[in-house]
Protein backbone atom coordinates (compact mmCIF):
# COMPACT_ATOMS: atom_id res chain seq x y z
CA UNK A 1 0.00 0.00 0.00
CA UNK A 2 1.38 3.37 -1.01
CA UNK A 3 2.04 5.80 1.86
CA UNK A 4 -0.33 8.65 2.69
CA UNK A 5 0.84 12.27 2.44
CA UNK A 6 -0.20 14.63 5.14
CA UNK A 7 0.30 18.36 5.55
CA UNK A 8 -0.72 19.86 8.84
CA UNK A 9 -0.90 23.59 9.54
CA UNK A 10 1.70 24.42 6.89
CA UNK A 11 2.56 28.06 6.15
CA UNK A 12 5.11 29.33 3.65
CA UNK A 13 6.54 32.75 2.83
CA UNK A 14 8.39 34.40 -0.02
CA UNK A 15 10.37 37.04 1.81
CA UNK A 16 7.77 38.72 3.99
CA UNK A 17 4.81 37.71 1.82
CA UNK A 18 2.77 34.82 3.14
CA UNK A 19 1.92 32.43 0.30
CA UNK A 20 0.44 29.51 2.26
CA UNK A 21 -1.75 30.13 5.26
CA UNK A 22 -2.10 27.33 7.84
CA UNK A 23 -2.83 24.72 5.19
CA UNK A 24 -3.78 21.15 6.09
CA UNK A 25 -4.33 18.36 3.59
CA UNK A 26 -4.33 14.59 3.69
CA UNK A 27 -3.80 12.50 0.56
CA UNK A 28 -4.54 8.82 1.16
CA UNK A 29 -2.22 6.09 -0.11
CA UNK A 30 -2.73 5.41 -3.81
CA UNK A 31 -5.03 8.39 -4.19
CA UNK A 32 -4.67 11.10 -6.85
CA UNK A 33 -5.48 14.53 -5.48
CA UNK A 34 -5.55 17.69 -7.58
CA UNK A 35 -4.78 21.16 -6.30
CA UNK A 36 -6.99 23.42 -8.39
CA UNK A 37 -7.02 27.19 -8.56
CA UNK A 38 -6.12 30.30 -10.54
CA UNK A 39 -2.48 31.36 -10.81
CA UNK A 40 -1.20 32.79 -7.57
CA UNK A 41 -3.59 30.73 -5.42
CA UNK A 42 -0.73 28.84 -3.78
CA UNK A 43 -1.11 25.48 -5.51
CA UNK A 44 2.38 25.41 -7.00
CA UNK A 45 3.81 26.74 -3.74
CA UNK A 46 2.17 23.82 -1.92
CA UNK A 47 3.88 21.46 -4.34
CA UNK A 48 7.23 23.20 -3.87
CA UNK A 49 6.91 22.99 -0.11
CA UNK A 50 6.15 19.26 -0.30
CA UNK A 51 9.12 18.80 -2.66
CA UNK A 52 11.41 20.70 -0.30
CA UNK A 53 12.26 23.54 -2.73
CA UNK A 54 10.64 26.05 -0.40
CA UNK A 55 10.86 25.67 3.37
CA UNK A 56 7.66 25.52 5.41
CA UNK A 57 7.75 28.32 7.95
CA UNK A 58 5.36 26.44 10.22
CA UNK A 59 3.66 23.05 10.25
CA UNK A 60 4.75 19.53 9.40
CA UNK A 61 4.72 17.37 6.27
CA UNK A 62 4.73 13.59 6.62
CA UNK A 63 4.78 10.82 4.04
CA UNK A 64 3.78 7.39 5.31
CA UNK A 65 4.87 8.24 8.83
CA UNK A 66 8.23 9.78 7.83
CA UNK A 67 8.58 13.44 8.75
CA UNK A 68 9.73 15.26 5.60
CA UNK A 69 9.62 18.77 7.01
CA UNK A 70 13.35 19.11 7.75
CA UNK A 71 14.60 16.67 5.11
CA UNK A 72 16.60 18.28 2.24
CA UNK A 73 14.90 18.10 -1.15
CA UNK A 74 17.31 15.57 -2.65
CA UNK A 75 16.55 13.04 0.09
CA UNK A 76 12.75 13.19 -0.08
CA UNK A 77 12.41 10.65 -2.89
CA UNK A 78 9.49 12.33 -4.63
CA UNK A 79 8.99 12.00 -8.38
CA UNK A 80 8.12 15.35 -9.96
CA UNK A 81 6.87 16.12 -13.47
CA UNK A 82 7.52 19.80 -14.10
CA UNK A 83 5.39 22.24 -16.06
CA UNK A 84 8.00 22.76 -18.79
CA UNK A 85 9.25 19.18 -18.35
CA UNK A 86 12.67 20.38 -17.06
CA UNK A 87 14.52 17.75 -19.06
CA UNK A 88 18.31 17.96 -18.97
CA UNK A 89 19.06 19.52 -22.38
CA UNK A 90 22.63 18.20 -22.45
CA UNK A 91 21.69 14.56 -21.84
CA UNK A 92 20.06 12.01 -24.14
CA UNK A 93 16.61 10.65 -23.40
CA UNK A 94 18.18 7.51 -21.91
CA UNK A 95 20.54 9.49 -19.66
CA UNK A 96 17.68 11.75 -18.60
CA UNK A 97 15.67 8.76 -17.49
CA UNK A 98 18.66 7.03 -15.88
CA UNK A 99 19.69 10.15 -13.92
CA UNK A 100 17.74 9.28 -10.77
CA UNK A 101 18.89 5.66 -10.91
CA UNK A 102 22.51 6.83 -11.06
CA UNK A 103 21.95 9.01 -7.99
CA UNK A 104 20.74 5.89 -6.20
CA UNK A 105 24.02 4.13 -6.97
CA UNK A 106 22.59 1.62 -9.43
CA UNK A 107 25.08 -0.20 -11.67
CA UNK A 108 25.31 1.01 -15.29
CA UNK A 109 23.92 -2.20 -16.80
CA UNK A 110 20.90 -2.26 -14.48
CA UNK A 111 20.33 1.43 -15.15
CA UNK A 112 20.26 0.89 -18.88
CA UNK A 113 17.81 -2.02 -18.52
CA UNK A 114 15.44 -0.13 -16.20
CA UNK A 115 15.54 2.96 -18.42
CA UNK A 116 14.83 0.91 -21.54
CA UNK A 117 11.94 -0.78 -19.80
CA UNK A 118 10.22 2.43 -18.69
CA UNK A 119 10.83 4.04 -22.10
CA UNK A 120 9.04 1.10 -23.68
CA UNK A 121 6.09 1.62 -21.34
CA UNK A 122 5.76 5.28 -22.36
CA UNK A 123 6.26 4.32 -26.02
CA UNK A 124 9.63 6.00 -26.58
CA UNK A 125 11.89 2.96 -26.92
CA UNK A 126 13.14 4.18 -30.30
CA UNK A 127 14.08 7.62 -29.02
CA UNK A 128 16.62 6.78 -26.29
CA UNK A 129 19.57 8.31 -28.12
CA UNK A 130 17.86 11.57 -28.99
CA UNK A 131 18.36 14.83 -27.15
CA UNK A 132 15.31 16.59 -25.66
CA UNK A 133 15.54 19.39 -28.24
CA UNK A 134 14.79 16.81 -30.97
CA UNK A 135 11.50 15.71 -29.37
CA UNK A 136 7.95 17.01 -29.72
CA UNK A 137 6.07 18.42 -26.74
CA UNK A 138 4.17 15.21 -26.12
CA UNK A 139 7.34 13.14 -26.34
CA UNK A 140 9.14 15.41 -23.87
CA UNK A 141 6.17 15.01 -21.57
CA UNK A 142 6.54 11.23 -21.73
CA UNK A 143 10.27 11.42 -21.01
CA UNK A 144 9.56 13.61 -17.98
CA UNK A 145 6.99 11.09 -16.83
CA UNK A 146 9.37 8.16 -17.37
CA UNK A 147 12.16 9.97 -15.53
CA UNK A 148 9.92 10.54 -12.51
CA UNK A 149 8.43 7.03 -12.54
CA UNK A 150 11.61 5.00 -13.05
CA UNK A 151 12.86 5.58 -9.50
CA UNK A 152 9.55 4.16 -8.17
CA UNK A 153 8.90 7.06 -5.84
CA UNK A 154 6.30 6.61 -3.08
CA UNK A 155 4.85 9.98 -4.12
CA UNK A 156 4.43 11.48 -7.59
CA UNK A 157 3.78 15.17 -8.13
CA UNK A 158 2.69 16.94 -11.31
CA UNK A 159 3.05 20.69 -11.74
CA UNK A 160 0.68 21.74 -14.55
CA UNK A 161 2.21 19.01 -16.69
CA UNK A 162 -0.22 19.36 -19.57
CA UNK A 163 -0.44 23.14 -19.94
CA UNK A 164 2.06 23.26 -22.82
CA UNK A 165 0.31 20.65 -24.95
CA UNK A 166 -2.44 21.14 -27.50
CA UNK A 167 -6.01 20.25 -26.58
CA UNK A 168 -6.19 16.76 -28.08
CA UNK A 169 -2.82 15.61 -26.74
CA UNK A 170 -3.75 16.97 -23.34
CA UNK A 171 -6.73 14.65 -23.09
CA UNK A 172 -4.71 11.62 -24.26
CA UNK A 173 -1.90 12.38 -21.82
CA UNK A 174 -4.17 12.80 -18.82
CA UNK A 175 -5.70 9.40 -19.46
CA UNK A 176 -2.21 7.97 -19.75
CA UNK A 177 -1.07 9.62 -16.53
CA UNK A 178 -4.12 8.32 -14.71
CA UNK A 179 -3.54 4.77 -16.00
CA UNK A 180 0.14 4.75 -15.01
CA UNK A 181 -0.66 6.17 -11.57
CA UNK A 182 -3.39 3.61 -10.94
CA UNK A 183 -1.45 0.61 -12.23
CA UNK A 184 1.51 1.54 -9.99
CA UNK A 185 -0.81 2.44 -7.11
CA UNK A 186 1.31 5.52 -6.41
CA UNK A 187 0.08 8.37 -4.25
CA UNK A 188 -0.07 11.47 -6.44
CA UNK A 189 -0.55 15.23 -6.24
CA UNK A 190 -1.59 17.01 -9.42
CA UNK A 191 -1.45 20.79 -9.72
CA UNK A 192 -3.60 22.45 -12.39
CA UNK A 193 -5.67 25.51 -13.17
CA UNK A 194 -7.88 23.53 -15.55
CA UNK A 195 -11.11 22.46 -13.86
CA UNK A 196 -12.05 19.83 -16.43
CA UNK A 197 -8.58 18.30 -16.19
CA UNK A 198 -8.68 18.18 -12.38
CA UNK A 199 -12.19 16.74 -12.22
CA UNK A 200 -11.55 14.09 -14.86
CA UNK A 201 -8.32 12.73 -13.43
CA UNK A 202 -8.67 13.00 -9.65
CA UNK A 203 -10.08 10.99 -6.79
CA UNK A 204 -10.41 14.22 -4.85
CA UNK A 205 -9.81 17.87 -5.66
CA UNK A 206 -8.72 20.72 -3.37
CA UNK A 207 -9.93 24.09 -4.62
CA UNK A 208 -7.46 26.78 -3.52
CA UNK A 209 -7.44 30.55 -3.31
CA UNK A 210 -5.11 33.00 -1.51
CA UNK A 211 -3.05 30.22 0.04
CA UNK A 212 -6.05 28.45 1.58
CA UNK A 213 -8.07 25.38 0.63
CA UNK A 214 -11.72 26.37 0.19
CA UNK A 215 -13.09 22.88 -0.29
CA UNK A 216 -11.52 19.44 -0.52
CA UNK A 217 -13.85 16.79 -1.88
CA UNK A 218 -14.70 14.43 -4.70
CA UNK A 219 -15.31 16.05 -8.10
CA UNK A 220 -19.00 15.07 -7.94
CA UNK A 221 -19.59 16.79 -4.61
CA UNK A 222 -17.64 19.89 -5.65
CA UNK A 223 -19.65 20.12 -8.85
CA UNK A 224 -23.05 19.70 -7.23
CA UNK A 225 -22.62 20.94 -3.66
CA UNK A 226 -20.02 23.71 -3.49
CA UNK A 227 -19.38 24.77 0.11
CA UNK A 228 -19.06 28.50 -0.42
CA UNK A 229 -19.58 31.20 -3.01
CA UNK A 230 -15.96 31.07 -4.20
CA UNK A 231 -16.16 27.38 -5.05
CA UNK A 232 -19.67 27.87 -6.46
CA UNK A 233 -18.46 30.53 -8.89
CA UNK A 234 -15.43 28.40 -9.72
CA UNK A 235 -17.55 25.42 -10.78
CA UNK A 236 -19.91 27.52 -12.85
CA UNK A 237 -22.66 28.77 -10.52
CA UNK A 238 -22.49 32.24 -12.03
CA UNK A 239 -25.79 33.40 -10.51
CA UNK A 240 -25.79 34.09 -6.78
CA UNK A 241 -29.05 35.46 -5.35
CA UNK A 242 -29.49 36.46 -1.69
CA UNK A 243 -32.87 35.31 -0.32
CA UNK A 244 -34.76 35.27 2.98
CA UNK A 245 -37.23 32.67 4.22
CA UNK A 246 -40.68 34.18 4.81
CA UNK A 247 -42.73 31.03 5.44
CA UNK A 248 -42.03 27.31 6.02
CA UNK A 249 -44.61 24.68 5.10
CA UNK A 250 -43.08 21.19 5.51
CA UNK A 251 -40.43 20.70 2.85
CA UNK A 252 -41.71 23.67 0.86
CA UNK A 253 -40.18 27.01 1.82
CA UNK A 254 -41.43 30.37 0.63
CA UNK A 255 -38.62 32.85 0.22
CA UNK A 256 -38.44 36.50 -0.59
CA UNK A 257 -35.85 38.42 -2.63
CA UNK A 258 -34.99 42.09 -2.87
CA UNK A 259 -37.91 44.13 -4.17
CA UNK A 260 -40.35 41.63 -2.61
CA UNK A 261 -40.57 38.91 -5.29
CA UNK A 262 -41.50 35.40 -4.08
CA UNK A 263 -39.74 32.13 -4.79
CA UNK A 264 -40.94 28.64 -3.70
CA UNK A 265 -38.11 26.19 -2.92
CA UNK A 266 -38.21 22.47 -2.05
CA UNK A 267 -35.96 21.29 0.80
CA UNK A 268 -36.31 17.69 -0.39
CA UNK A 269 -34.43 18.64 -3.53
CA UNK A 270 -32.10 21.34 -2.23
CA UNK A 271 -31.36 20.15 1.32
CA UNK A 272 -32.01 22.15 4.49
CA UNK A 273 -32.48 25.87 3.87
CA UNK A 274 -31.43 28.38 6.58
CA UNK A 275 -33.38 31.61 7.19
CA UNK A 276 -30.90 33.75 5.26
CA UNK A 277 -29.03 32.14 2.38
CA UNK A 278 -27.87 32.42 -1.21
CA UNK A 279 -29.34 30.49 -4.07
CA UNK A 280 -26.63 29.55 -6.55
CA UNK A 281 -27.61 28.64 -10.09
CA UNK A 282 -25.76 27.86 -13.30
CA UNK A 283 -27.13 29.61 -16.41
CA UNK A 284 -29.04 26.38 -17.15
CA UNK A 285 -30.53 26.56 -13.66
CA UNK A 286 -32.51 29.72 -14.41
CA UNK A 287 -35.18 29.27 -17.07
CA UNK A 288 -36.66 32.32 -18.64
CA UNK A 289 -40.46 32.57 -18.87
CA UNK A 290 -42.56 35.33 -20.41
CA UNK A 291 -45.84 33.88 -19.11
CA UNK A 292 -47.85 36.18 -16.86
CA UNK A 293 -47.15 34.56 -13.47
CA UNK A 294 -46.41 36.04 -10.05
CA UNK A 295 -43.66 33.54 -9.14
CA UNK A 296 -39.95 33.68 -10.04
CA UNK A 297 -37.46 36.50 -10.22
CA UNK A 298 -38.70 39.50 -12.24
CA UNK A 299 -36.12 40.47 -14.88
CA UNK A 300 -35.57 42.64 -17.93
CA UNK A 301 -33.93 41.01 -20.95
CA UNK A 302 -30.60 42.45 -22.11
CA UNK A 303 -28.19 40.77 -24.52
CA UNK A 304 -29.04 37.40 -26.07
CA UNK A 305 -26.28 34.93 -27.10
CA UNK A 306 -26.85 31.93 -29.33
CA UNK A 307 -25.23 28.76 -27.95
CA UNK A 308 -26.40 26.07 -30.37
CA UNK A 309 -28.87 24.24 -28.16
CA UNK A 310 -30.21 27.19 -26.18
CA UNK A 311 -30.04 30.95 -25.85
CA UNK A 312 -28.28 32.60 -22.95
CA UNK A 313 -29.71 35.91 -21.79
CA UNK A 314 -27.99 38.61 -19.76
CA UNK A 315 -30.82 39.97 -17.64
CA UNK A 316 -31.23 42.78 -15.12
CA UNK A 317 -32.98 41.97 -11.83
CA UNK A 318 -33.43 43.49 -8.40
CA UNK A 319 -30.66 41.06 -7.32
CA UNK A 320 -28.26 42.43 -9.92
CA UNK A 321 -27.28 41.14 -13.38
CA UNK A 322 -27.86 37.39 -13.92
CA UNK A 323 -27.42 34.90 -16.76
CA UNK A 324 -30.40 32.72 -17.68
CA UNK A 325 -31.36 30.20 -20.35
CA UNK A 326 -34.21 30.30 -22.83
CA UNK A 327 -35.42 27.87 -25.47
CA UNK A 328 -34.58 28.24 -29.15
CA UNK A 329 -38.21 28.12 -30.18
CA UNK A 330 -39.02 31.40 -28.49
CA UNK A 331 -36.30 34.08 -28.84
CA UNK A 332 -36.95 37.15 -26.69
CA UNK A 333 -35.91 40.69 -27.61
CA UNK A 334 -34.08 43.16 -25.42
CA UNK A 335 -36.26 45.09 -22.93
CA UNK A 336 -38.87 42.36 -22.45
CA UNK A 337 -40.11 41.87 -18.90
CA UNK A 338 -39.83 38.21 -17.92
CA UNK A 339 -39.63 35.90 -14.92
CA UNK A 340 -36.72 33.59 -14.05
CA UNK A 341 -37.78 30.17 -12.74
CA UNK A 342 -35.04 28.20 -10.94
CA UNK A 343 -34.54 24.59 -12.01
CA UNK A 344 -33.83 23.12 -8.60
CA UNK A 345 -31.69 20.25 -9.91
CA UNK A 346 -29.24 22.86 -11.27
CA UNK A 347 -29.18 24.96 -8.11
CA UNK A 348 -27.66 24.76 -4.65
CA UNK A 349 -27.94 26.52 -1.33
CA UNK A 350 -25.00 28.50 0.06
CA UNK A 351 -24.61 30.25 3.40
CA UNK A 352 -25.34 33.98 3.03
CA UNK A 353 -22.36 36.27 2.36
CA UNK A 354 -22.79 38.11 5.66
CA UNK A 355 -22.84 34.93 7.71
CA UNK A 356 -19.62 33.49 6.24
Amino acid sequence: MAPALSLSHVSAHYGATRILDDLSLRVDGGELVSLLGASGCGKTTTLRVIAGFLPATTGTITLGGTDLTRLPAHRRNIGIVFQNYALFPHLTVRDNVAFGLKQRGMAAATRAREAAEILKIVGLADFSDRFPAALSGGQRQRVALARALVVRPPLLMFDEPLSNLDAKLRIDMRVEIRQLQQSNGTTAVFVTHDQEEAFSISDRVAIMDSGRIHQFDTPETLYQRPADSFVARFVGFVNLVSLQVSQRNGAIVTTQGPGGYRLLLDQDRLGPIPDRFMLAARPDGLRISDADIDEGIPATVGIRTYLGRTYHYQVETASGPLTATGSLSDPLGAGRHVRLIPDLDQCCILPDKEST
Binding site: A73, H74, I78
Partner: protein, 262 residues
Protein backbone atom coordinates in the same frame (compact mmCIF):
# COMPACT_ATOMS: atom_id res chain seq x y z
CA UNK B 1 20.25 43.70 -49.87
CA UNK B 2 18.96 46.41 -47.59
CA UNK B 3 15.28 47.03 -46.98
CA UNK B 4 13.71 50.45 -46.78
CA UNK B 5 16.93 52.42 -46.49
CA UNK B 6 17.62 55.56 -48.43
CA UNK B 7 20.83 55.64 -50.54
CA UNK B 8 22.37 58.59 -48.65
CA UNK B 9 22.00 56.64 -45.40
CA UNK B 10 23.66 53.59 -46.92
CA UNK B 11 26.42 55.77 -48.33
CA UNK B 12 26.99 57.27 -44.89
CA UNK B 13 27.26 53.81 -43.32
CA UNK B 14 29.73 52.71 -45.99
CA UNK B 15 31.94 55.73 -45.20
CA UNK B 16 31.77 54.94 -41.48
CA UNK B 17 32.88 51.38 -42.10
CA UNK B 18 35.74 52.56 -44.29
CA UNK B 19 36.69 54.86 -41.40
CA UNK B 20 36.53 51.87 -39.02
CA UNK B 21 38.48 49.36 -41.09
CA UNK B 22 40.90 51.69 -42.89
CA UNK B 23 43.36 52.39 -40.07
CA UNK B 24 43.63 48.69 -39.23
CA UNK B 25 44.36 47.82 -42.85
CA UNK B 26 47.03 50.52 -42.87
CA UNK B 27 48.63 48.96 -39.78
CA UNK B 28 48.72 45.58 -41.53
CA UNK B 29 50.28 47.20 -44.57
CA UNK B 30 52.87 49.06 -42.49
CA UNK B 31 53.91 45.85 -40.72
CA UNK B 32 54.94 44.37 -44.05
CA UNK B 33 57.27 47.23 -44.90
CA UNK B 34 60.95 46.53 -45.58
CA UNK B 35 61.96 50.02 -44.39
CA UNK B 36 63.26 50.90 -40.92
CA UNK B 37 60.62 53.61 -40.48
CA UNK B 38 56.85 53.41 -40.44
CA UNK B 39 55.23 54.10 -43.78
CA UNK B 40 52.20 53.32 -45.83
CA UNK B 41 51.87 52.01 -48.48
CA UNK B 42 54.73 49.63 -47.57
CA UNK B 43 57.95 50.03 -49.52
CA UNK B 44 59.30 46.62 -50.33
CA UNK B 45 57.45 43.69 -48.82
CA UNK B 46 59.05 41.79 -45.95
CA UNK B 47 58.17 39.82 -42.86
CA UNK B 48 61.38 40.77 -41.08
CA UNK B 49 59.64 42.96 -38.51
CA UNK B 50 57.72 39.94 -37.30
CA UNK B 51 61.04 38.18 -36.65
CA UNK B 52 62.27 41.29 -34.85
CA UNK B 53 59.46 41.04 -32.26
CA UNK B 54 60.81 37.77 -31.00
CA UNK B 55 64.42 38.94 -31.16
CA UNK B 56 63.63 41.79 -28.77
CA UNK B 57 63.73 40.53 -25.20
CA UNK B 58 61.39 43.26 -23.94
CA UNK B 59 58.59 42.18 -26.28
CA UNK B 60 59.15 38.51 -25.58
CA UNK B 61 59.11 39.05 -21.83
CA UNK B 62 56.07 41.31 -21.75
CA UNK B 63 54.15 38.95 -24.03
CA UNK B 64 54.70 36.16 -21.54
CA UNK B 65 53.71 38.39 -18.62
CA UNK B 66 50.58 39.63 -20.42
CA UNK B 67 49.57 36.07 -21.20
CA UNK B 68 50.18 34.88 -17.63
CA UNK B 69 48.29 37.79 -16.09
CA UNK B 70 45.38 37.47 -18.51
CA UNK B 71 45.12 33.73 -17.92
CA UNK B 72 45.34 33.90 -14.14
CA UNK B 73 43.15 37.00 -13.74
CA UNK B 74 40.47 35.47 -15.97
CA UNK B 75 40.53 32.18 -14.03
CA UNK B 76 40.30 33.99 -10.68
CA UNK B 77 37.49 36.20 -11.92
CA UNK B 78 35.58 33.14 -13.17
CA UNK B 79 36.22 31.30 -9.92
CA UNK B 80 34.59 34.04 -7.85
CA UNK B 81 32.31 35.35 -10.62
CA UNK B 82 30.47 32.11 -11.46
CA UNK B 83 29.24 31.52 -7.87
CA UNK B 84 28.33 35.20 -7.60
CA UNK B 85 26.38 35.20 -10.87
CA UNK B 86 24.67 31.97 -9.82
CA UNK B 87 23.70 33.43 -6.45
CA UNK B 88 22.42 36.65 -8.08
CA UNK B 89 20.12 34.68 -10.39
CA UNK B 90 19.13 31.80 -8.14
CA UNK B 91 18.61 33.79 -4.93
CA UNK B 92 17.43 37.01 -6.55
CA UNK B 93 14.64 37.53 -4.00
CA UNK B 94 16.78 36.80 -0.99
CA UNK B 95 19.72 39.05 -1.91
CA UNK B 96 19.65 42.84 -1.77
CA UNK B 97 19.59 44.80 -5.01
CA UNK B 98 22.85 46.65 -4.36
CA UNK B 99 24.79 43.40 -4.56
CA UNK B 100 24.43 43.16 -8.33
CA UNK B 101 25.41 46.84 -8.57
CA UNK B 102 28.55 46.04 -6.60
CA UNK B 103 29.78 43.68 -9.30
CA UNK B 104 29.42 46.25 -12.07
CA UNK B 105 31.18 48.86 -9.93
CA UNK B 106 34.58 48.15 -11.50
CA UNK B 107 33.07 49.40 -14.76
CA UNK B 108 31.90 52.63 -13.15
CA UNK B 109 35.24 53.38 -11.51
CA UNK B 110 37.62 54.74 -14.16
CA UNK B 111 40.26 52.11 -14.89
CA UNK B 112 43.05 54.61 -14.54
CA UNK B 113 41.79 55.53 -11.04
CA UNK B 114 41.65 51.84 -10.11
CA UNK B 115 45.24 51.42 -11.27
CA UNK B 116 46.48 54.45 -9.36
CA UNK B 117 44.55 53.48 -6.20
CA UNK B 118 45.91 49.94 -6.27
CA UNK B 119 49.41 51.39 -6.63
CA UNK B 120 48.85 53.58 -3.55
CA UNK B 121 47.10 51.10 -1.29
CA UNK B 122 48.13 47.64 -2.41
CA UNK B 123 51.52 47.88 -4.01
CA UNK B 124 53.06 50.67 -1.96
CA UNK B 125 50.71 50.68 1.06
CA UNK B 126 50.46 46.95 1.69
CA UNK B 127 53.78 46.18 0.05
CA UNK B 128 52.45 43.48 -2.27
CA UNK B 129 54.76 42.34 -5.07
CA UNK B 130 54.26 44.05 -8.44
CA UNK B 131 52.97 40.91 -10.13
CA UNK B 132 50.35 40.28 -7.42
CA UNK B 133 49.11 43.84 -7.57
CA UNK B 134 48.87 43.61 -11.37
CA UNK B 135 46.97 40.34 -11.03
CA UNK B 136 44.52 41.83 -8.53
CA UNK B 137 43.99 44.86 -10.76
CA UNK B 138 43.21 42.71 -13.79
CA UNK B 139 40.98 40.34 -11.84
CA UNK B 140 38.87 43.35 -10.82
CA UNK B 141 39.00 44.72 -14.35
CA UNK B 142 37.54 41.54 -15.88
CA UNK B 143 35.20 40.51 -13.03
CA UNK B 144 32.23 42.58 -14.32
CA UNK B 145 32.46 40.89 -17.74
CA UNK B 146 32.44 37.46 -16.12
CA UNK B 147 29.51 38.23 -13.83
CA UNK B 148 27.51 39.93 -16.56
CA UNK B 149 27.99 37.37 -19.33
CA UNK B 150 27.40 34.40 -17.03
CA UNK B 151 24.38 36.13 -15.51
CA UNK B 152 23.02 36.57 -19.02
CA UNK B 153 23.25 32.86 -19.75
CA UNK B 154 21.89 31.98 -16.30
CA UNK B 155 18.94 34.31 -16.79
CA UNK B 156 17.78 32.14 -19.68
CA UNK B 157 18.53 28.96 -17.70
CA UNK B 158 15.43 27.22 -16.37
CA UNK B 159 16.18 26.51 -12.73
CA UNK B 160 13.45 23.89 -12.61
CA UNK B 161 15.99 21.70 -14.43
CA UNK B 162 18.21 21.99 -11.39
CA UNK B 163 15.24 21.22 -9.15
CA UNK B 164 14.48 18.17 -11.28
CA UNK B 165 18.00 16.90 -10.62
CA UNK B 166 17.59 17.53 -6.89
CA UNK B 167 14.21 15.82 -6.81
CA UNK B 168 15.86 12.79 -8.43
CA UNK B 169 18.32 12.61 -5.55
CA UNK B 170 21.28 14.82 -6.55
CA UNK B 171 22.65 16.95 -3.70
CA UNK B 172 22.58 20.67 -4.63
CA UNK B 173 26.34 21.02 -5.20
CA UNK B 174 26.29 18.00 -7.46
CA UNK B 175 23.23 19.26 -9.30
CA UNK B 176 25.19 22.44 -10.06
CA UNK B 177 28.15 20.62 -11.59
CA UNK B 178 26.17 17.92 -13.38
CA UNK B 179 23.24 19.96 -14.64
CA UNK B 180 23.76 23.74 -14.36
CA UNK B 181 27.37 24.11 -15.45
CA UNK B 182 27.07 22.01 -18.65
CA UNK B 183 24.13 24.17 -19.69
CA UNK B 184 25.86 27.53 -19.22
CA UNK B 185 29.07 26.30 -20.81
CA UNK B 186 28.84 28.68 -23.75
CA UNK B 187 28.38 31.62 -21.37
CA UNK B 188 31.46 30.58 -19.43
CA UNK B 189 33.49 30.31 -22.64
CA UNK B 190 32.31 33.73 -23.78
CA UNK B 191 33.09 35.23 -20.39
CA UNK B 192 36.53 33.67 -20.46
CA UNK B 193 37.28 35.07 -23.89
CA UNK B 194 35.96 38.56 -23.24
CA UNK B 195 37.84 38.71 -19.94
CA UNK B 196 41.03 37.41 -21.50
CA UNK B 197 40.96 39.89 -24.37
CA UNK B 198 40.14 42.77 -22.01
CA UNK B 199 43.10 41.91 -19.82
CA UNK B 200 45.49 41.45 -22.75
CA UNK B 201 44.53 44.87 -24.15
CA UNK B 202 44.50 46.80 -20.88
CA UNK B 203 46.63 49.92 -20.56
CA UNK B 204 45.07 52.06 -17.82
CA UNK B 205 45.33 49.60 -14.93
CA UNK B 206 48.70 48.13 -15.86
CA UNK B 207 50.11 51.63 -16.35
CA UNK B 208 50.64 51.97 -12.61
CA UNK B 209 51.15 48.35 -11.67
CA UNK B 210 54.28 47.56 -13.64
CA UNK B 211 57.72 47.65 -12.16
CA UNK B 212 61.29 46.72 -12.78
CA UNK B 213 61.32 43.66 -14.99
CA UNK B 214 57.54 43.29 -14.98
CA UNK B 215 55.52 44.97 -17.68
CA UNK B 216 52.70 44.06 -20.02
CA UNK B 217 52.69 44.05 -23.80
CA UNK B 218 50.51 47.17 -24.31
CA UNK B 219 52.70 49.14 -21.88
CA UNK B 220 55.79 47.94 -23.72
CA UNK B 221 54.23 48.99 -27.04
CA UNK B 222 53.53 52.47 -25.65
CA UNK B 223 57.08 52.78 -24.37
CA UNK B 224 58.51 51.58 -27.67
CA UNK B 225 56.39 53.93 -29.80
CA UNK B 226 57.56 56.91 -27.77
CA UNK B 227 61.20 56.14 -28.57
CA UNK B 228 61.22 54.50 -31.98
CA UNK B 229 59.10 54.81 -35.05
CA UNK B 230 59.89 51.46 -36.66
CA UNK B 231 57.43 48.91 -38.07
CA UNK B 232 57.95 46.44 -35.21
CA UNK B 233 54.95 47.86 -33.34
CA UNK B 234 52.85 47.45 -36.46
CA UNK B 235 53.90 43.79 -36.54
CA UNK B 236 52.98 43.33 -32.85
CA UNK B 237 49.65 45.01 -33.61
CA UNK B 238 49.02 42.55 -36.41
CA UNK B 239 49.75 39.67 -34.04
CA UNK B 240 47.18 41.11 -31.61
CA UNK B 241 44.68 41.42 -34.45
CA UNK B 242 45.24 37.77 -35.35
CA UNK B 243 44.50 36.93 -31.71
CA UNK B 244 41.31 39.00 -31.95
CA UNK B 245 40.22 37.19 -35.10
CA UNK B 246 40.82 33.84 -33.40
CA UNK B 247 38.78 34.96 -30.41
CA UNK B 248 35.93 36.15 -32.62
CA UNK B 249 35.92 32.81 -34.40
CA UNK B 250 35.55 31.03 -31.06
CA UNK B 251 32.78 33.37 -29.89
CA UNK B 252 30.99 32.91 -33.20
CA UNK B 253 31.22 29.14 -32.81
CA UNK B 254 29.94 29.05 -29.25
CA UNK B 255 27.38 31.82 -29.09
CA UNK B 256 27.07 33.70 -32.33
CA UNK B 257 28.41 37.24 -32.44
CA UNK B 258 25.00 38.82 -31.99
CA UNK B 259 25.53 37.85 -28.36
CA UNK B 260 27.67 40.97 -28.11
CA UNK B 261 24.90 43.37 -29.08
CA UNK B 262 22.74 42.31 -26.19
Amino acid sequence: MIRRLSPPLIGFAVLVYIFLMGPLIIVIGASLSDTTFLTFPPQGLSLRWFDRIFEMAAFRRTMVTSFQVAMLATCFALLVGIPAAYALNRYRIQLPGWLSTLFVLPVLVPEIVLGFSLLRSVQVGAGLPVFSALLIGHTLLVLPYCVRVISASLSSFDFSIEEAAISLGAPPWQAFFVVVLPNIRSGVIAAFILAFITSINDVSVALFLTGPGISTLPIQILAHVEQFFDPVVASVSVLLMVLTVAVMAIVERTLGLTFLTR
